[in-house]
Symmetry: C2
Subunit: 325 residues, 2 copies
């Protein structure tokens, strides 16, 4: 979390309150669920979505943001719930270095725990008098996450996936959520749509950069740093940007295509594919894309920001460039 201490300094107090709120949800009165949730909610997430939301809300000239903490927490709950369901769907056994809910308790419990957390998220929202538009935006995000996953599912192992299709996928999967976190941060505080739109675009570009980095780490990092097996995307048939570039620029592109289009690839073939992707210029090209999106994000930081706030948005964008987990 060290890299995040600078961008998060302005909202430290509220983020701590978000943790309290999340702990309360995880310490549910139903003992059968509590074991599950606490391990997931406390699994050391970056809390990026609540942070984006809270920073955006800082555009408002006021001192106390305690009233929007439940909304910030609900965004993290939705994120966690969708991760739990994704892990069921992808049959993933590890996340952030820990056993996933499905690995530990079975798919049954994981599906239901996700449902429970989605409901808890909507509970936190419906509990307070937030502007109605906020609830609608969050609903749209949950829908989009589902649609994104279904579309990704239908293009697994398809080496014809091109750059455009990839951007379209990560938009739904990651960028739209981060964009909306920023947007509703402004909207909940009654900030005008002009600034809300800029913040939306900041979040969108940050999210695109974030997901490409995630996809880069899948091929460049090792199991230990990642907290999950490296090369997992390739194994699962998810065609990411570095792979798309490798399929275009690598001298071994035919061999790569043969391996990654086969759902039954062996462990040796997977390692060979990872090496092919690592060795070609696709990595550098992907990194350039990350930089481009980070630059775009920065260009959308509203001029109306206080100096402190501008710095925080700026640091957060830089964090994407530095993160390695």
């Amino acid at each position: 979390m060290n890299l995040l201490s600078k961008p998060y300094s302005l909202i430290r107090k509220e983020l701590d309150e978000v943790e309290v709120c999340l702990r309360k949800v995880s310490e549910t009165t139903f003992p059968l669920l509590s074991g599950i949730e606490s391990s997931l909610i406390s699994a050391g997430g970056k809390r990026l979505r609540p942070a984006l939301f809270l920073l955006a809300a800082r555009m408002a000239k006021k001192d106390d943001f305690a009233d929007i903490v439940p909304l910030a927490a609900s965004l993290e709950l939705i994120h966690v719930a969708s991760l739990i369901h994704d892990d069921v769907i992808d049959n993933s056994l590890l996340r952030r270095g820990k056993e996933t809910a499905n690995a530990k308790y079975g798919n049954h419990v994981a599906v239901l725990a996700g449902d429970y957390l989605f409901a808890s998220a909507f509970g936190l929202i419906s509990d307070k008098d937030y502007p109605r538009i906020v609830g609608g935006k969050i609903v749209e995000i949950v829908k989009l996450l589902a649609v994104g996953e279904i579309q990704q599912d239908s293009s697994l192992y398809k080496i014809t996936t091109d750059e455009e299709a990839y951007y379209c996928q990560i938009e739904k999967k990651t960028a739209a959520f981060m964009a909306v976190c920023c947007e509703i941060g402004a909207l909940v505080e009654g900030i005008g749509t002009d600034i809300a739109n800029k913040l939306y675009n900041y979040g969108h570009n940050l999210g695109m950069a974030f997901q490409i980095t995630d996809d880069l780490l899948d091929v460049t990092s090792n199991d230990e740093t990642l907290g999950k097996p490296a090369g997992r995307d390739i194994k699962q048939g998810v065609i990411t940007l570095p792979v798309i570039y490798a399929l275009k620029y690598s001298l071994k592109k035919e061999r790569l295509a043969a391996i990654i289009s086969n759902p039954l690839m062996s462990e040796e073939e997977l390692q060979e594919a990872v090496m092919i992707v690592r060795e070609c210029e696709g990595i550098a090209r992907s990194k350039k894309k990350v930089q481009e999106y980070v630059n775009k994000a920065k260009a959308f930081i509203p001029e109306e920001c206080s100096e402190n706030l501008r710095e925080s948005f700026d640091f957060l964008a830089d964090y994407i460039l530095k993160r390695n987990y």
Copy 2:
């Protein structure tokens, strides 16, 4: 649906509008999801939850109930979403005589389609200016459904499950939802808590009777009438009331216990178990329980009802006694 035409006559117009609303959700703009949802939402459900809600709302002295139709539809969406996830969890292949979502599209798509429908339900609620307490009640129901399923999951094949534990399970699984449908029907129209409480109790007792009937049908009916394989509960290890009674009163209770506590029971053993349950007095005892709950439900119909409305609540309770699917 013939048995329901009498109890539904008062709310026919609103129920038709609910269908329009559900069709709109199913004809989503995302072509990848639409195939899935339409087949599920149009699978000829009884729409019992919207009906209970709409009947309860009729306690209000007004002519036009169009404004609460989206809320009625959201209750059905939550029901459908939880059925989809239940089918994934139970690995069920048939429901209402049709292939389940997981059978047709795989668990992946089914989990996500359920999420999408849950979100759509909350979308319909957050779209309108319903009293805040309504959203909170619905959130609690979604949580309870998940907890109920998890608890049921943990007691599968456990022949020590007693009557009390069974009632506790079906309360969470079915009765609480129907109770809340009635309750929020009153609350959304600003009817006092006194009447809302009576309606809650009506729905609760109706729900208990409904679920016991469901569990009876699982052993007394055949595949064709049920639209799913008979004896499925026993096969899946769910210990229902007729089975609990058979374990107590049947002369072949030891044999029954030996079969149903074994997750690997053969098809012949399953049929033998079904016959043991059918032949003993457990069926008659369970039917008596249904009658008791139906009587209790009727006793909670508020005196303040118009004659027409009282008749509808009455007919609906009688329907539970007559239903055979």
